[in-house]
């Protein structure tokens, strides 16, 4: 296999610690504890290496990345290396002083998460009283400071009827972009699937509302809409293809092709503690495992869309079909597609209680 193109973006998961407990969190079930976290100098080296490889944008994420006191120092380092920096935050720890420090360090953009458009439901989903009010304050501070703001809403059966109110809130808070993202069902999301998975009618309503709003808001606010692949006929091109565009570094320094890749069995997780980022990108068995199309089974191998969706999501194939090399069950041609139809059919009328995301809460 020839050398892969350089990665476009780096997701730097600085910590898994977070004040919130959202039941669809994209972090793995086994959260990495604080003592395992990389130190400031390690992260600076990772950022420098990423820029040298051709990464254009770094997304500082978590957990809650603002739980790391060295965040402004890391942002400054990224800016010096020529990286575009994005902060993905819950806003819970944001205040006028640390916002100014981040802006002065050269931060380019902030993505602020909301759990709903109304406080009571939002606080229930995040499992923290007062969280929504705190986020509204954070948005105001960001707006006043002038940094470009994206609002992120993860949607599911318990909040998706309020997509119009979410869009109105984003407009009111002066967001330049808004993400309306249907929950993806891995890790915590899969654990909470019955509490989160919407009905087909709910999904179609969200699509309609977003399509109308895109026309109305054109040029003022752009809307990124993430569709729920359970109701699609064909899989999504997960991460733009395994090991083709995207690098994820975990709090402890594991280097992954996506946030959920640690679930893949039988292959060593490469680490920045042992190897350079470039060497991992090009040569690590984990990155080569599903890169390109050679690994694909039938019906993928002879499918006309194999270089459109790159075989969909490997972690989903593993989580649902029990085999990371299987055809993504979302595909209507997959042998395991009835796992999806079954999940939809067996969805309980009343959502069960959330199984909240926190340390030590992974077991059902």
């Amino acid at each position: 296999m020839s050398a892969p193109p350089p990665p476009m973006s780096l997701l730097a998961e600085l910590t898994h610690r977070c004040p919130l407990q959202c039941p669809y969190c994209s972090n793995p079930l086994q959260l990495e504890p604080r003592p395992q976290e990389l130190d400031t100098e390690d992260w600076k080296r990772v950022l420098s290496e990423a820029a040298e490889m051709g990464v254009l944008q770094v997304h500082f994420s978590g957990g809650e990345p603002m739980a790391r006191p060295d965040l402004p120092e890391l942002v400054a380092h990224a800016a010096k290396a020529g990286l575009y920096s994005n902060l993905i935050t819950s806003g819970m720890l944001l205040n006028a002083k640390n916002l100014q420090e981040l802006a002065d360090a050269g931060l380019d953009h902030i993505q602020l998460s909301f759990q709903d458009a109304e406080a009571e439901s939002a606080d229930h989903i995040a499992h923290m009283t007062g969280a929504h009010a705190k986020k509204l304050e954070a948005a105001q501070l960001i707006k006043t400071e002038g940094l470009p703001l994206t609002l992120n809403f993860v949607i599911h059966r318990q909040n998706c009827e309020r997509v119009p109110a979410m869009l109105a809130l984003a407009e009111q808070l002066g967001a330049r972009r808004v993400e309306i993202a249907h929950t993806q069902y891995y890790g915590w999301g899969l654990l909470n699937r019955n509490a989160l998975l919407p009905s087909r009618a709910q999904v179609e309503e969200t699509e309609k509302v977003v399509a109308e709003a895109r026309v109305r808001l054109s040029g003022r606010m752009s809307i990124d809409f993430v569709t729920p692949d359970y109701y699609a006929d064909r899989p999504k091109p997960c991460m733009g293809g395994w090991g083709q565009r995207f690098l994820n570094v975990s709090p402890a320094g594991k280097v992954l092709p996506c946030h959920a890749a640690e679930s893949i069995p039988g292959v060593q997780m490469p680490s920045v503690a042992e190897e350079s980022l470039a060497n991992i990108w090009e040569n690590a068995p984990l990155f080569r495992l599903f890169r390109g199309t050679d690994w694909m089974p039938e019906p993928c191998q002879s499918c006309a869309f194999k270089e459109d969706d790159w075989g969909g999501c490997r972690c989903q194939a593993l989580a649902l079909a029990g085999d990371a090399t299987a055809t993504d069950p979302v595909c209507h041609r997959a042998p395991g597609h009835d796992l999806i139809t079954q999940a939809i059919t067996e969805r309980p009328e009343t959502p069960p209680p959330f199984h909240y995301r926190r340390y030590g809460n992974a077991k059902v």
Binding site: P6, G54, L56, Q57, N86, D108, H109, Q111, P148, R176
Partner: protein, 91 residues
């Protein structure tokens, strides 16, 4: 609507950036990077928050010895598209 009298600047959080590794130019913007073709790069390098679009057209006409009306149409289309994408804003 952007016209020859408009004065443009890059919105905060967007910028034109040369990518040394790929030897191409990108417009860096919130959570996306748009590839900028060589013509767009020529235009965007003249956006400084002072010069108006007409002034940019004059410079491009000189540099490329091309008819102004043809350049004007292409450049305005490009600039309006980038304004819709919230990359550029009128001052």
């Amino acid at each position: 609507m952007i016209s020859e009298n408009s004065i443009l600047r890059f919105a905060r959080g967007t910028r034109l950036q040369h990518d040394r590794v790929r030897d191409v130019w990108f417009i860096q913007a919130p959570e996306r990077a748009f590839h900028a073709d060589p013509i767009a790069v020529e235009v965007l390098q003249l956006i400084d928050g002072t010069r108006n679009v007409g002034g940019i057209l004059d410079l491009l006409c000189q540099k490329f010895a091309a008819p102004r009306d043809i350049i004007a149409q292409d450049v305005l289309t490009l600039l309006r598209d980038l304004a819709t994408k919230q990359v550029l804003q009128a001052i």
